[in-house]
Structures are given as structure tokens and as C-alpha cells.
Symmetry: C2
Subunit: 395 residues, 2 copies
């Protein structure tokens, strides 16, 4: 065989940034390591017993339907449930034909990339942004543009300028408890951003895996509400029920969903039925809001400990976000300390986190790092933050 290894693979595949997170997570299999690196939900709040009961009901009710080929769009009753929920929460008129079920919302990104991005197309990303979106979109060879993420979301004036200058096909953002920063767009900013976008032909890709995990009672509607024809909203059950089931969804116009379904059919025909049926049975049998309330309370308590420990043990020239939901806080170290170097020292103390540089398209801020607070209990979080604070102080 005469393959010249690198040149033989597609240009696209050589374009995908590697995941430092993934490399760290391999290290994290040592059970003594306390990991703030992953983005894992806390398995203590998975509804294991409930799902175990539901799975029998699925087999009894659905029978061989669970095992046969099924519609690309996904299990209709589950799509109806999702559509109804948008109505109940935000008063949105959503038809099930506007919902496409996906293998987690990561597949939503892949399908959106397939449908919209030609090589050289511009895609605007928040700065910093979700690494998985960078990896996924990279496969479609866009030119990435960046816009700084501020405390209340991206700045509408800055956004308008960049949209006019670069004419991106897509603007990708995570308005609720962003990965990696934990920041949430204010209601006002959302409306302003919708207005700015409506004057352009850029499509908003609003990724919302964390929205349900809010620590306050304030319910801010998705930007989709103010820009329904031009928004693709991605949702997921990964943070509320279980990521292992791999059930996410896309909400968009019927026209876009119809086209995304063609992309999905070509990609994997349809998602696993058992996951979809099981999830629907769970949602029908139990009270979803009560279930999510437990997770919200638990993660809020874990966030409190993390933020209080950082305040108590980190030197005052360290800044950090105080997330109102989700799973992450974002830390900025003093200029003399690079996060990768700190990680090396932390590893010796059996503590890991993700250095922030992976989350930038260009010119990474090397002083940043991401801490996950959903997956370590309170006491160990406190102890680890104390150790981490000492490492920073004595750097």
C-alpha cells in the first residue's frame, strides 16, 4: 500500500483541535484524583431506580417497536413533550414538527455544521467558547471569528459591528451558564441581540444544555423567543436526566428541521429507540420539575462551597465568576501564573482542572482555568480549593 499517511486523510480531519480535556480525563481514572476537569453530571442524582422501573414498562408497552427501525425525526410523543414544555415555560408556540431528536446536543452541532457550513464560511464564536463546538464545526472548515463574552452576554454594539464586517453564517452562543465561564446572558441583552441579528442574515445557534440547572427562580426566555425564524435552539436531557442515554434535540423552523432531518438520515438513520422511549416513559411517569429541583438544589450547594472556598483560600488578585446555574466557574489567575503550569503542581496534589487555553479560537488567555463543581462533594471541594489556593499563594 502506498498511502502517505497525513496527506491521505481529509483536510477537514486534520483541522480538528485535540481535546486537552479528554487527555486530562484519561489521567482522572486514578480514583484518588479529585477532578474538577470534566463536565460530568453528578451520578448521585441520576434517577436510576425510576428508570429501571420505566424500562420494563417500555418493553411491555412498545414491544418490538423499540427494537425496529424508526423515524429519523425521533419518537413523536417525546417531541410533543418537548414542544409542550417550551409552551409551558415561555409561552412559545412550538409544533413537534419543529423538533428533531439527536444523539445528545453534540450531534445537533454536527447536523447544523453539515447543513450550513461550506469551507471558508465565517462562524462567530464567543470568546471563550465550548471546545466541543470548536471541534465539531472545525470539521466543516469555516473561518472562526470571535466576540468577547462579558458578564451579561456579548455586547450588542460590538456584535452588530462584527456581523456587518464579517457576515458570519452562524453565531454560536451558550446564553445559560456557559461552558466554560458559567455566565448567563441577561434578559435585556437577549432582546438586544435578537434585534441586532434580525437586521442580518446570520443564523443564531443557541446552545442550551444547562438552562434547566438554574439556581434562581428567575426564568429568562431563550433568544429564540425573540428571533424564531432565524434561531436554531439546541437542548439536551444530558444534564437533567442522563448523558449516557444520548438524547438531545434541535428546535428550529419546520423548513430547517426538514433539512436537518435529511442530514441526520444520511448520518445515522435515527437515534436509539430505547433511550427515547425510556426517557419519555420517565417524563410521563414522574414529575420532571421536581426531579430537576433536586439537581438544582444540590449543584447550588456545591457551587456555594466552591465559591466560598475560593473567596476564603485564593489570593485577592484571583478573579472568578459566580455562576447562577450550570456546572462551571471560570478563574483568572494573576499574570505571573499560567494555568498549565499550575495544573502540573496541582496534579502532584492529586487535583485536576482544565486550563482555559483550550477554549479560545485564537490568542488564548493562558491565565484562565475552568472548575467543574457538579461532580465533587462539598467537603472534598473545600479541601481541594484550600490546597489549590495554597499553590497559587506560594507560586
Amino acid at each position: 500500500m502506498k498511502i502517505e499517511p497525513l496527506s491521505y486523510y481529509s483536510k477537514r480531519s486534520q483541522n480538528v483541535p485535540t481535546s486537552f480535556v479528554r487527555e486530562i480525563l484519561k489521567v482522572a481514572s486514578d480514583p484518588e484524583i479529585i477532578s474538577f476537569a470534566g463536565g460530568l453530571p453528578n451520578p448521585a442524582y441520576f434517577p436510576l431506580i425510576e428508570l429501571q422501573k420505566c424500562v420494563q414498562q417500555v418493553f411491555e408497552k412498545q414491544g418490538t417497536k423499540t427494537l425496529q427501525y424508526a423515524a429519523t425525526e425521533g419518537f413523536l410523543p417525546l417531541r410533543e413533550f418537548i414542544a409542550e414544555r417550551y409552551k409551558g415555560l415561555y409561552g412559545l408556540e412550538v409544533s413537534p414538527s419543529q423538533i428533531l431528536l439527536t444523539n445528545g446536543s453534540q450531534q445537533g452541532l454536527d447536523l447544523v455544521g453539515k447543513l450550513f457550513i461550506d469551507p471558508g464560511d465565517r462562524v462567530l464564536m464567543e470568546r471563550p467558547t465550548y471546545l466541543g463546538a470548536l471541534q465539531c464545526f472545525s470539521m466543516f472548515q469555516p473561518v472562526f471569528e470571535e466576540i468577547t463574552l462579558e458578564e451579561e452576554g456579548v455586547d450588542p454594539v460590538e456584535l452588530s459591528k462584527i456581523l456587518v464586517q464579517t457576515q458570519p453564517k452562524l453565531f454560536y452562543c451558550i446564553p445559560n451558564f456557559q461552558n466554560p465561564t458559567g455566565l448567563q446572558y441577561s434578559h435585556k441583552r437577549r432582546q438586544e441581540i435578537a434585534k441586532v441579528l434580525s437586521a442580518t442574515s446570520s443564523i443564531l445557534v443557541e446552545d442550551d444544555p444547562y438552562g434547566a440547572i438554574s439556581f434562581s427562580e428567575e426564568l429568562i426566555p431563550p433568544i429564540y423567543k425573540y428571533l424564531p425564524q432565524q434561531t436554531i435552539l439546541l437542548g439536551s436531557f444530558s444534564k437533567t436526566v442522563s448523558p449516557g442515554l444520548r438524547v438531545g434535540w434541535i428546535l428550529a423552523s419546520e423548513e430547517i428541521i426538514r433539512r436537518l432531518a435529511v442530514m441526520k438520515q444520511a448520518s445515522d438513520l435515527h437515534s436509539a429507540n430505547l433511550s427515547q422511549h425510556l426517557l419519555f416513559q420517565f417524563l410521563k411517569t414522574y414529575n420532571f420539575d421536581n426531579h430537576v429541583a433536586k439537581i438544582r438544589a444540590a449543584y447550588k450547594a456545591q457551587r456555594d462551597v466552591m465559591i466560598e472556598s475560593i473567596a476564603a483560600f485564593f489570593p485577592p488578585d484571583v478573579s472568578y465568576t459566580k455562576p447562577k446555574g450550570g456546572m462551571f466557574t471560570w478563574v483568572s489567575l494573576p499574570e505571573k501564573i499560567q494555568a498549565r503550569a499550575l495544573l502540573e503542581r496541582a496534579l502532584k496534589e492529586k487535583i485536576i482542572f482544565v486550563p482555559g487555553d483550550s477554549f479560545y479560537v485564537t490568542q488564548p488567555d493562558l491565565q484562565t482555568l475552568r472548575l467543574n463543581f457538579s461532580n465533587v462533594d462539598r467537603e472534598r471541594t473545600r479541601q481541594a480549593m484550600k490546597k489549590l489556593g495554597k499553590l497559587i499563594l506560594n507560586y
Copy 2:
């Protein structure tokens, strides 16, 4: 919003051929229609009771592991099972690190496309070929080349000529009971084809969803055996256990699997755990060969009825394949009858099939059609073939 609808979508997405099969299947939801159109396994042979038992064991043994994020490559014990099976059946030395689990083998095609096909690259297809592969690869904008599929496989001399002339990156074929023709490559042809390919830098994509559903005891090894470094072999549990679980796999060199796993991670992180765990539990608890033997016997009986009915009721100027396995037979009508026109008349008799034109890259043979024999019982098959024969006779 100023979107000009068509130009706004990616070129790739406008490139995907539509599925006439899918359109027909929508019609087929009328319960009175006898459908030979789909490619559905017969649900009567799904191991429903067994899987229902196994799913409880999965929850008891795996607990929250089933619900958490998991490795992109898939559940290791299942990958080990697949590797062992290649050893047991064909004496192949396969490591689990050469196996990547996918959402059905359709996703295998997507990942292969992602890793290898740049726009304008050549991809060689059998003539006719699987529509789903055409749809999937189309998204990566290759130039398709064709090679005629003969009774015993493609002709090695012809293959060599085309490989030299067009230098395709990939040669895609389905050597066992091909979709749509039902044909199987002979052992001799496989060895010749491997030899021809070994002198080139083209990669063989050997798609094998039907291999286990053989109606004879003759066990022909995959072409992979004779060309392991240059072959990507796709497998699936869709036709043997259940398509709704969406579990397929890719076997290739460790180097290629490592790169395909990066593509999969960017595409959907990983496949649904519950499907993988459940399948493994089934394979561990029950005898897979005995299970598959039941399906083979049942489909063989259904094929026999179809072939005998065609012989009895179709005029002698109709030719057709006599598949030694799988789910399809391929019919060539007399020149005056086009399959689409025949379908219109058949629909009035509440019988449907797939006209063959969908399965060609260029210059479709309009007199061909595909009949599925796995999903209709023997008596109804016989009656329907009688009606279809009459329609052809009286055309």
C-alpha cells in the same frame, strides 16, 4: 431576515440525493399495503423476551455507569466480543483497539466520509449500490465512479483498470448479499480484489451488515482478511439482533480507528450506553449463533417462497437474482416496462417495492426493481408475487 433560502444552505446539503425509498415507506404506513419496499428485519425474530430480561441485569450490574458519559470508542466488553468473533469465525487477529462502536453502520459511513473525503476526491461505488451510502458520501462532495457488479462480485481486471484511471480514495462495496441486488462475492474474487487493491493506494470500505444472514453453511471470509491494513470493515447488529438499538462497528487498523474516534467524538461524543450494555448482556447470556440460525432459517424460507413464486408467476423474460442470504432480490423487467410505471399499477393492488433507479450513480437502469423478502410472511408473499406477475404479463 435576509436569507435567500437555497444559496444559504451548504453546497454539501444540496448534494444529497433524496430517498425514494423513504417516500414509499411513508405510503406504506397504510396497514393494508403489502410492502416489499423497506429493508426492515422481521420483528417476529427480535429477541424481545430475552432483551427484556437482560435490561434488568444491565441496570443491576452497571448501575449509574449506564447513565453517565462514556468512552467515545464504545463499551470495551462489547468491542472485545466483536474482536473475538472475528477470530472464531475467520481466524483473524483483531484487537479491541481496532474496533469503534457506531450508531448503526450508517454512522460508520459518515465517519469514514469525514476522515477521508475532501471535495472532488474520487469514490468508487458498485453499480448498483446502497442508496444510504450514496446519500452519506454525497455530503462530502466526492466525484463518484462506478463499477458494474456481476454475479460473483466486481471484475478484478475491470477494477484494476478503473483504480489506475481514476485513483479513487475509497472503493465501497457490500460483498455479502448486497443491497440492492442480493449478490455475494465469491471467495476467489475476494482474494483477487484484495490483490488488485494492494497495488494501489485506494482504501477498501467493506460494508457487511448482512454477512451473518447466510442461507448456506459456506463461510466466506471478508476481503479484510486479505488486505487488513487497507480495509475498513463495517459491521452491524441491526439485522441479527435489533436495528432500533443502533449498534454497529468499524474494524480497521489502530491508526485509522484512532482517527475515526476523533471524528466520532466531534460528531456525538459517544453512542447510547444502554443499547451497548444491553446488547453485550444479551450476547453474554444467550447463544448468538443459535439466535442467528433461527433468522437464517426463517429468511431462507421466505426467500424460497419469493423465488419460487417469481419463477411460477412472472413471465420468462423477467430475470432476477437468487440470493444466498440477506434480505433482497433484484428483478430486471422486459425493456418495455419501467419499474416506476409498474409501481403505480402495483400500488393500486396495494403492493409496493423500490424501483431500481435510486441505486445508481448515473444512467439508472429503469427496468430494475428491488424486492425485500424478510418482512412479509410466506402466504402473503406468494399472493403478492402472483398479482405482480399478472401486472407484468398484462402490461
